[in-house]
């Protein structure tokens, strides 16, 4: 059944869109990531113009994060104070990202920066996560005792910075600089690359701030929700490329998928979850590496600078 998308100005199969949303929603509930880094490239591949795909996915990520965040909220898995710090700095970062997005788009190098950005961040974070998770799994096999929910409380240089703030729920007492830096960085990258940034935020919170595993996903979901809500409105006002029909179709599929993802997550250990996410992240990074390194099948591409039509 074909569904016409009024902003994208084309028709796509309704069941394909709902299915796509469902699959990504499952992963989103499982790992606490928005799933934008998978959904955006898939939509562009389906023929939806990149600006519409990016802007509509932000709306979908809001819905997926809401249902996920509520699940974690009920389990007490959110550190509100930490989330607030991340959100405020994240919104500032998003403004910078949207501005850079516009500059690169007019210079014709947005595709390159998106590909390089995906490759560098997904590649490095995916590798780090995979190494850490595999090590943890091996250790678990050898010792046979359950892995601690909180990572070994090693104090890194991050914990020696000044202006420390206490985050009770996370059992943390850290400088606010790394918190603001992480929040702002995620906001910037998220709006620039058209992704929620959960897959960067989760490891950053785990490895840099040592946020306990039981808190990290819920807090990350809440931050992604707030930043993506702000970005959706920003896109709607700036470029008018948010397709509400597309976003609603995707979110319907994804909220259902997310519920199953959250349940499935309860049966997997933290290190197994991280290993799985790392493999998915690396696969996406590899896809972007190939697109940059292999000779393109068609060196030419076309872009519309002014909107056509009206009427």
């Amino acid at each position: 059944m074909q569904l016409y998308l009024p902003i994208a100005e084309l028709s796509l199969n309704l069941f394909m869109l709902v299915g796509l949303g469902g699959a990504v929603g499952f992963l989103s509930g499982l790992f606490g990531v928005g799933g934008g880094f998978l959904l955006t490239p898939m939509l562009i591949f389906s023929g939806i113009p990149a600006p519409v795909a990016v802007a509509s996915v932000t709306g979908q990520v809001v819905a997926a994060s809401t249902s996920g965040a509520l699940s974690y909220w009920r389990r007490g898995g959110i550190d509100l104070k930490l989330a607030l710090f991340l959100i405020v700095s994240g919104v500032c970062g998003a403004f910078g990202g949207v501005w850079t997005f516009g500059q690169l788009r007019s210079a014709g190098q947005l595709d390159l920066v998106i590909s390089l950005g995906y490759l560098i961040f997904l590649g490095s974070i995916g590798s780090l996560m995979l190494v850490e998770a595999v090590r943890s799994i091996i250790k678990h096999r050898q010792q046979g005792n359950p892995p601690p929910t909180k990572l070994p409380g090693k104090h890194t240089w991050v914990h020696g910075l000044p202006m420390r703030v206490r985050f009770k729920r996370s059992n943390l007492y850290v400088s606010i600089f790394p918190v603001i830096l992480i929040g702002g960085g995620i906001g910037f990258l998220g709006s620039l690359l058209g992704i929620g940034g959960g897959f960067i935020l989760v490891p950053a919170l785990i490895y840099l701030l040592r946020v306990p595993g039981s808190i990290v996903i819920g807090t990350s979901l809440l931050q992604v929700l707030a930043i993506m809500a702000a970005t959706t409105i920003l896109h709607a006002v700036n470029s008018q490329t948010v397709d509400i029909v597309l976003a609603f179709t995707l979110m319907t599929g994804s909220v259902i998928g997310a519920q199953f993802g959250v349940s499935a997550g309860q049966y997997l250990r933290g290190d197994q979850l991280r290993a799985l996410l790392a493999i998915i992240v690396l696969a996406v990074a590899l896809r972007f590496a190939l697109s940059l390194l292999l000779t393109p099948s068609d060196p030419f591409s076309v872009a519309v600078m002014t909107s056509v039509g009206g009427g």
């Binding site: 059944m1 074909q2 569904l3 016409y4 009024p6 902003i7 100005e9 084309l10 028709s11 023929g47 709306g59 979908q60 809001v62 819905a63 994060s65 809401t66 249902s67 965040a69 509520l70 699940s71 014709g108 190098q109 595709d111 390159l112 390089l116 929700l225 809500a229 959706t232 409105i233 709607a236 006002v237 008018q240 948010v242 509400i244 029909v245 976003a247 609603f248 979110m251 909220v255 259902i256 997310a258 519920q259 697109s291 390194l293 292999l294 000779t295 393109p296 068609d298 060196p299 030419f300 591409s301 076309v302 872009a303 519309v304 600078m305 002014t306 056509v308 039509g309 009206g310 009427g311």
Partner: protein, 252 residues
């Protein structure tokens, strides 16, 4: 463009001495896009008649018809990827203004049998004819990049050539069916029908039709443009509500 049309009209009037005239129409003045729009087919039909005061004998046969259908135009950019520092990135680019977003050519016979390429080009009956290729800056790349742009538009199904798309139902009555793909842009379309006889253009007649969204789809598209802030807020509220609702429904 307007000058060219004026010239064409003038030319048509001058040739009116041969006293034949083209009468044509389209099947629907408005192509409506609703939620289940999956492309549409528009029929263009017409007849070649003796001019006022002329007699039926003046209308002979051996006519050839070429119809051009052009969608709303915009500024298009063609970019070429080149290999630098080991990776492929967008290098040279060329911008073209007034480039039609949709362009179909349908004819009753292969174009080279209807008229010389020069004649067709002057009438704008070639994708790369002068009225359609208006570079923002003219460089050595202008022409090759324009060819690539046309090739990409053909690949997307927005540019098409059908050399057997016009059928003559009698010596003087013809009809043509033009397929509009699902991703056809909204806007005003110009269908121009040209009559050729023995390699000469003897008449042409323009006809406009509109492709536009209707009902809910039109409401959404308009809201996004006119009340963009409110639209964005509604999107977010809808998203949060959907997320919340699913949380309630699936609560375990």
């Amino acid at each position: 463009m307007r000058l060219l049309l004026a010239l064409l009209t003038l030319a048509a009037v001058t040739i009116e001495a041969s006293a034949q005239r083209l009468v044509m129409s389209t099947s629907e003045p408005v192509v409506s896009i609703s939620s289940n729009f999956a492309g549409d087919t528009i029929t263009i039909f017409g007849t070649i008649e003796p001019d006022v005061g002329g007699s039926a004998e003046q209308v002979t046969n051996n006519y050839n018809i070429v119809i051009s259908i052009k969608g709303p135009s915009g500024t298009y950019v063609a970019r070429k990827k080149t290999r630098q520092y080991g990776i492929w990135l967008n290098g040279e680019q060329e911008a073209y203004e007034g480039f039609p977003s949709y362009f179909a050519l349908v004819s009753s016979a292969p174009l080279e049998k209807i008229a010389d390429p020069g004649v067709l080009s002057v009438a704008g009956l070639a994708f790369d004819s002068a009225p359609h290729i208006r570079p923002v800056r003219r460089t050595q790349n202008t022409d090759p990049f324009a060819q690539e742009l046309i090739r990409l538009m053909k690949k997307r199904g927005l540019y098409s050539l059908d050399e057997h798309g016009v059928q003559f139902l009698s010596d003087t009555f013809f009809s043509a069916r033009i397929a509009l793909p699902a991703h056809v842009p909204n806007g005003t379309y110009l269908a121009n029908t040209y009559v050729f006889q023995e390699g000469q253009l003897i008449d042409n007649a323009p006809q406009r039709f509109t492709v536009r969204t209707v009902g809910f789809e039109r409401f959404v598209a308009n809201s996004a443009k006119e009340y963009s802030l409110l639209y964005g807020v509604v999107c977010v509220i809808l998203a949060i509500f959907t997320g919340w609702l699913s949380g309630v429904v699936f609560r375990r």
